[in-house]
């Protein structure tokens, strides 16, 4: 099973086909020449039905997922996706509902959306929520558009700068740039918090707002969060909360009470809906009463008679997505919240933080910590092992983990830490699983000193060995090209 799977073009044999059509029993007719495809068809792969099905089934079985193994990918919260969520999402009333149905015929679905808006608002401390955005970055884009709309609505035309800490996810500066605003970087201090002096120097009447993830990408809770919000608010700026790391503070701290004006929730992280290729995601957004009129719509409102209806906020920035967000994900997140309840959600965060610190403390004497502090739901270590040759890098450690059957953690992020190794165990892993991972990391550290060639050669047990990432980036082949592939193989 664990062998290289050829490309479907390489499996092709001219003349094979997957369907047997009946003999032609009507006069043959040809399409006008200008409608006929001129290229590409000659190269179309030709296979039988079982060959096609087996090819794609084999590829699907090579996929690494939370259903097949431990996945400590920092900043991504690859937690378990409870199977109960899937049961709920597959109920015919939800799965077969049509988005163009009359509201009167979809009251159950609308009730679920309304209740999820209410729950998310309560959990993060915001009076208004929209479930429109389809992913975290989409929620960020909604947020900065709302900031702009809010400032412009007040006749405040000069706010063109968005402050972003150097530890931020890349999507934060990208979002600011997408909305046509200017990114201003704010430094971190020695404890991994935002540097308040640098922040004070950079806020001005040009500040539209600040985008902040708390806990940040170092897995550290910014201890000065209240002061940060005060500084930004003092010049008329708004605080954007990136909810990527919300898993660490459920039931413990409410961003709306800390001073944030707007936040996106990653339902596909914190609220256990499938993530990555198993998505789609959902980047629901919540905000203060002052920003509520600008939220993307439609949102669901409850009428005086107890029925539910779709409505657009008064000054809505518009739609972010067709229909009502990724509805199947909303069903899963609703199910997750109702299954756990308030006490259960708090326990989620407590266990996530406990697990992260357990791994951190067990590994930090071998893999140095970026900043020596108790962490939240993830920790950032360095792949700089004492006594190992200097050419053993974090990349080699990550590749060696594949040999031991683990998905590697996030590496080389955040960018402010050299040789970063960012581990997020999540609350859903047992102590036994964490112990096996820890033992493996310690084993790899010993190998790095004694037999570094094992790390350089890794992965050796995967179907594809170490790929040439440099060459792939310098000479990308982005579509199937028989000649280009033959040329690469012959070199």
């Amino acid at each position: 099973m664990n062998t290289y799977e050829p490309h479907i073009y390489e499996l092709s044999t001219p003349g094979k086909h997957g369907a047997s059509l009946p003999m032609l029993d009507v006069p043959e007719s040809t399409l006008p020449a200008d409608l006929l495809r001129q290229d590409g068809l000659a190269d179309f792969p030709e296979l039988t039905e079982p060959e096609v099905v087996r090819h794609y089934t084999r590829i699907s079985q090579r996929n690494y997922s939370v259903d097949t193994g431990y996945y400590p990918l920092g900043s991504c919260t690859m937690k378990w996706n409870p199977k109960l969520n899937e049961e709920a999402a597959r109920m015919a009333g939800f799965a077969a509902a049509h988005p163009l149905q009359d509201a009167a015929d979809a009251q159950g679905a609308l009730q679920l959306i309304y209740e999820l808006q209410e729950y998310l608002g309560e959990i993060a401390g915001f009076p208004a929520v929209s479930l429109q955005p389809a992913a975290g970055a989409h929620g960020e884009f909604a947020g900065i558009l709302v900031f702009r709309a809010y400032h412009l609505d007040r006749g405040d035309h000069d706010r063109v700068e968005v402050l972003v800490p150097t530890s931020a996810h890349g999507t934060n500066p990208a979002t600011a740039a997408m909305t046509g605003l200017k990114v201003v970087e704010v430094k971190g201090d020695a404890r991994g918090n935002v540097d308040l002096d640098d922040l004070r120097a950079k806020v001005s009447p040009r500040t539209a707002g600040m985008m902040l993830t708390n806990p940040n990408t170092l897995g550290l809770f910014d201890e000065q969060i209240v002061e940060i919000c005060e500084i930004v608010h003092s010049v008329g700026g708004l605080m954007y909360g990136d909810g990527a790391n919300f898993n660490a503070i459920l039931g413990i701290a409410k961003p709306g009470e800390l001073g944030f004006d707007f936040m996106h929730y990653n339902l596909h992280k914190t609220f256990s809906t499938p993530h990555g290729g198993g998505g789609p995601g959902s980047g629901a957004v919540g905000c203060s009463a002052a920003l509520a009129p600008f939220l993307p719509g439609p949102v669901v409102v409850k009428n005086a008679d107890g029925s539910y209806a779709l409505a657009n906020p008064e000054k809505a920035i518009g739609r972010m997505k067709a229909f009502h967000g990724n509805f199947g994900m909303l069903v899963r997140a609703w199910t997750y919240i109702r299954t756990l309840g308030a006490a259960g959600l708090r326990e989620v965060s407590e266990m996530a933080v406990l697990n992260a610190n357990y791994v951190r403390v067990k590994l930090k004497d071998v893999y140095p910590q970026a900043i020596d502090r108790i962490c939240m739901h993830e920790s950032v270590l360095k792949g700089q092992i004492a006594g190992a040759p200097k050419d053993v890098r974090t990349l080699d450690i990550a590749k060696r983990l594949i040999d031991y059957g683990f998905h590697p953690p996030t590496i080389y992020f955040p960018l402010i830490v050299s040789e970063a190794l960012m581990i997020e165990p999540t609350e859903t892993e047992s102590k036994q699983t964490l112990d096996v991972f820890i033992d493996t990391m310690l084993q790899i550290a010993r190998e790095a000193v004694e037999t570094p060639e094992l790390l350089h050669a890794a992965p050796t047990t995967a179907p594809v060995r170490r790929v040439d990432e440099v060459r792939a980036a310098r000479q990308p082949i982005l579509r199937y090209d028989r000649e280009a592939i033959a040329r690469v193989r012959s070199e």
């Binding site: 080389y412 050299s418 440099v470 980036a473 310098r474």
Partner: protein, 129 residues
């Protein structure tokens, strides 16, 4: 690990070097910077005639690990760009102070706080290397 830090150059805290050649200045990234980035796979440089401002981005450099801004150590007008790097970025890793130079500038006088070789070496060591 020790890095090559030529004594005759001056350095920025964002890891660019500056070499005086007559009335002009040549700018590149340091050996420390290329080692931290790893194999460079893409670079975006300004056009000849562009004006650069001290402390502000004048281009982008990308390795398999990360994409980073290039920060201008001095202000001035770009008079030449190392066009060879468009096709192959390998010289930046192999010879960062020679063939891997990035741009040549006619300085306007404005510059960032620049370090001499000894101070820059100390600055690299401070960052854990």
């Amino acid at each position: 690990m020790s890095y090559n830090v030529p004594a005759e150059l001056r350095y920025s805290k964002s890891d660019e070097w500056v070499r005086v050649e007559g009335d002009e200045l040549v700018i590149g990234i340091t050996d420390f910077a290329q080692d931290q980035l790893g194999d460079i796979v893409y670079i975006e440089l300004p056009k000849v005639g562009a004006l650069i401002t001290p402390g502000e981005s004048f281009g982008v450099i990308e390795s398999v690990k990360a994409s980073s801004d290039l920060y201008a150590p001095v202000g001035g007008e770009v008079v030449a760009v190392n066009g060879d790097l468009e096709a192959s970025q390998e010289p930046i890793n192999r010879d960062p102070y020679g063939e891997g130079w990035l741009i040549r500038v006619r300085p306007s006088g404005a510059e960032e706080e620049l370090l001499d070789a000894a101070a820059y070496t100390a600055f690299c060591e401070e960052r854990g290397h």
